[in-house]
């Protein structure tokens, strides 16, 4: 039944391909015996990894013998399975519990098949092989699926992600948060209220005095002649007063009420009333 041809028909994923019919059982070298059970010595060490567990081993045995899974010949398969387990044992491979569990299941099925059936039980008694057959089929489907998944074009192996560099002018964009005018006004209100609570007088006075000083300055200049800037400061007032005057001048310049001219670097600055004031 099994010959070299059969062995070569195995799919690539099947583990035993090396035609080295050499095995050691109970310390004795075995050559081609039994034929479908040849295990190359190298493979023995990796047998637990080569077969993905007892279901895989069973499937291998079934496929190798070209048995129909649905007509699982329990007796034959059990015998072969046990031989493998014996080989593993003799090699002192640490036998995974799963292999022994399967051995027990096979023995149990075998014994149940051997038991004479009473005719009245025939209807409801399940074929004891059914559950094992179901598991084998399911496992086989997983095996096929894993294989086709492996054949699926895969990144890093069959295809590579492609990337072009960005031009140097590409730079990350930062989206600035939105601010509403209302938020801004409220923030000002809060700040001022708090300031009032802290130092009521200072803030009030300074704000007032700048406005006041603006009016004073406007009254000191005219639109015809230039007034030297330093004439607008009163050093006697001290630093605070000078600051207030300066702020007032800046405010006036900003509002174009005041025109500022300077003949050259470091020369005196002169001011006069702004142009648009005249037009009004």
């Amino acid at each position: 039944m099994t010959d070299v041809e059969n062995a070569s028909e195995l799919t690539a994923a099947d583990p035993v391909q090396q035609p080295l019919p050499l095995a050691f059982i109970h310390g004795e070298a075995l050559i081609e015996k039994p034929q479908d059970l040849y295990i190359p010595p190298d493979a023995l060490e990796v047998i637990l990894e080569t077969f993905e567990g007892p279901l895989d081993l069973l499937l291998y045995l079934i496929r190798k013998q070209k048995f129909d899974i649905t007509a699982l010949p329990v007796a034959d398969i059990t015998a072969q399975y046990m031989e493998y387990v014996e080989v593993m044992k003799s090699l002192k491979l640490e036998l995974a519990a799963e292999y022994l569990l399967m051995a027990a299941i096979l023995a149990e099925i075998k014994s149940r098949l051997l038991l004479p059936r009473r005719s009245d039980e025939d209807d409801d008694e399940e074929d004891p092989r059914a559950e094992l057959i179901r598991r084998l089929r399911e496992y086989e489907a997983v095996k096929v699926a894993a294989q086709s998944l492996d054949e699926q074009p895969r990144l890093e192996r069959d295809i590579f992600a492609v990337k072009a560099d960005v031009a140097d002018s590409v730079s990350p964009i930062r989206i600035e948060p939105d601010v509403s005018l209302q938020e801004l006004v409220l923030a000002f209100g809060h700040a001022m209220k708090r300031a009032a609570a802290f130092e009521h007088h200072t803030i009030e006075r300074e704000v007032l005095s700048t406005r006041e000083r603006m009016s004073q300055i406007l009254s000191m200049v005219n639109s015809q002649t230039y007034t030297p800037l330093d004439a607008l400061f009163t050093p006697e007032e001290g630093r605070g007063g000078v600051v207030v005057s300066f702020l007032a001048i800046l405010e006036l310049v900003k509002e174009q009420l005041l025109l500022c001219v300077q003949a050259g670097p470091y020369s005196r600055i002169h001011v006069k009333l702004g142009q648009h004031e005249e037009n009004q």
């Binding site: 994923a13 990894e49 993905e52 567990g53 007892p54 279901l55 895989d56 995974a96 519990a97 799963e98 569990l101 399967m102 027990a104 299941i105 149990e108 099925i109 409801d124 399940e126 004891p128 059914a130 559950e131 057959i133 179901r134 598991r135 089929r137 399911e138 496992y139 489907a141 997983v142 095996k143 096929v144 699926a145 894993a146 294989q147 086709s148 998944l149 492996d150 054949e151 699926q152 074009p153 895969r154 990144l155 890093e156 192996r157 069959d158 295809i159 590579f160 992600a161 492609v162 990337k163 072009a164 560099d165 960005v166 590409v170």
Partner: protein, 211 residues
């Protein structure tokens, strides 16, 4: 919203897909590079289709995967392209592939359920590797004693295997056929569990509890 002509739209979408680090969805395109422009869904689809055709004869291709569109090298060139890297692509063990396949086809699934199908324990290493690669993730816990984690595949998994959706998984027909044929007997056995079945179940439960 400004108008953009077809030629400019094509250039912009093309460049965007090329400079992106990962596949780009149409939604992302609209929210980023195209946010200034008035572009209809149809115009965008047209441009993507045109680009796909443009690159057909070239060394790279525009493809659609789960999380969007990406340019990728022609897979027939991989034997030579792989020479550009010192390290060869990682090979995955059968245990890893079978575990991944089960999660892909049977998600959401617990580790115990994977072990029940495969007949062997699933090593923590495999679960960790698959999680670290962002191929699988925990999507919940099964309401059974021990509340084992339920695993599912991710969008990155689909991207990596060039799939648009789980429906594109290869040989899903194998699983479907399986469901048609064997589900009824399976239920039957569950109705009358034998001693053996109990033994398996206990072993499974133990394994789950040890997780």
């Amino acid at each position: 919203m400004k108008k953009i002509n077809k030629e400019q739209l094509k250039q912009l979408v093309e460049a965007a897909l090329f400079v992106a680090d990962s596949p780009v969805s149409k939604v992302t395109l609209k929210e980023t590079v195209l946010s200034d422009f008035q572009v209809s869904e149809r115009a965008l689809n047209d441009v993507l289709k045109t680009l796909m055709l443009d690159y057909q004869p070239r060394g790279i291709q525009l493809v659609e995967v789960a999380s969007g569109y990406r340019f990728q090298s022609l897979d027939s060139l991989s034997p030579w392209l792989s020479k550009m890297w010192q390290e060869s692509a990682p090979r995955y063990s059968r245990a890893m592939l079978e575990t991944l396949a089960l999660i892909a086809y049977r998600q959401p699934i617990t580790r115990g359920e994977i072990e029940a199908v495969r007949g062997v324990a699933v090593s923590s290493n495999i679960v960790r590797t698959l999680t670290e690669r962002n191929w699988i993730k925990v999507v919940g816990h099964k309401e059974v004693p021990g509340r084992p984690a339920l695993y599912a595949t991710t969008r990155q998994f689909l991207d990596y295997f060039s799939l648009k959706s789980l429906a594109d998984l290869p040989s899903s027909d194998v699983f479907e056929a399986l469901d048609d044929q064997t589900q009824p007997p399976a239920t039957a056995t569950l109705d009358a569990p034998s001693e053996d079945d109990r033994a398996i179940e206990t072993a499974e439960q133990k394994r789950e509890e040890n997780e």
